[in-house]
Subunit: 145 residues, 2 copies
DNA sequence: ATTTTTGGGTCAGTTATATTGACATATCTA
DNA sequence: TAGATATGTCAATATAACTGACCCAAAAAT
């Protein structure tokens, strides 16, 4: 039987450490932009998720963020006050709230994204398409385990 | 000129979102174990880094964690009180402090690691070695950008 | 038609983790 | 010896999360 080196503990430990660094590095660059609007990482994550899932509901966001609704509410209030998002009642189910980025929110997202994409863009640019594809597949496997 | 689809904004956005999920999923499972010792994520990260870098100095840890020494100090005090780590003066440079996991710390690390490795292990098990290798390379490229 | 469940909102208090800024001490280096 | 470095510590503050207890309105189930 072949030895699967990449399943050895030391390799898994490498990944645990690297995933920490990758997350931190990926999410640290836009901090100056966020500070300009008095936003923190929590706002950052909400803006990203709303941009990617326009019209997402409160419970949709809660499922993706895995925080409490009290925590989310604080963030949403800030974003509404800042005029970055608008919230609409559901047409089918009027208990639901659908969240959208408005013009200001889209502008802020773009500023954030411009900073945040750099490291990933450069890393991918220096990789071949097969590597990028396989990178994505393993990422997804970890998420869906 | 070929179009590099994987450099398109929408693909980068995928990665930004996935990296968040992967980090969270990778670091969420050991929370019950940590709670048993009244430890949080900050302690978790320190234990991991000390296990991987036995004898690391304070400034070594600060460079990896990128937090302030005041923040680190709170964590280290907890870990010392709990008898998970010991701190020794440097023999060459006695200003330095070298941090080691002791028996209790190793035991706690193993409990944490047992929980934390599961998702990664299963994800890698369902991947071929080429994918795992390429996954690691792209991770490193993002970190070192 | 009434009851139960669901989606969301909110008040209050607490905890965890990080920050800034200032200052102290010992030790190493030039 | 002067300055730089490694670490420790006090105090105040910010951020982001938590638990727990309620509330209302609308949908779904009975």
């Amino acid at each position: 039987m072949r030895e699967l080196l990449y399943l050895k503990d030391e390799n898994i430990k490498d990944f645990i450490e690297q995933i920490f660094y990758v997350y931190r590095e990926t999410y640290s660059d836009p901090k100056k932009v966020l500070k300009k609007y008095s936003f923190g990482s929590a706002h950052h994550r909400v803006i990203i998720l709303v941009e990617r899932n326009n019209g997402i509901t409160i419970s949709g966001l809660l499922n993706k963020l895995k925080i409490t609704k009290q925590s989310l509410n604080r963030i949403l209030k800030d974003l509404i006050k800042n005029n970055s998002i608008i919230i609409k009642k559901g047409e089918i189910d009027s208990r639901q709230r659908h969240i959208f980025l408005n013009e200001k929110g889209k502008k802020i997202f773009n500023e954030i994204f411009t900073e945040q994409k750099k490291k990933i863009y450069n890393a991918l640019k220096n990789s071949d398409s097969d590597s990028v594809l396989k990178f994505k597949k393993v990422l997804n496997k970890i998420i869906n385990e």
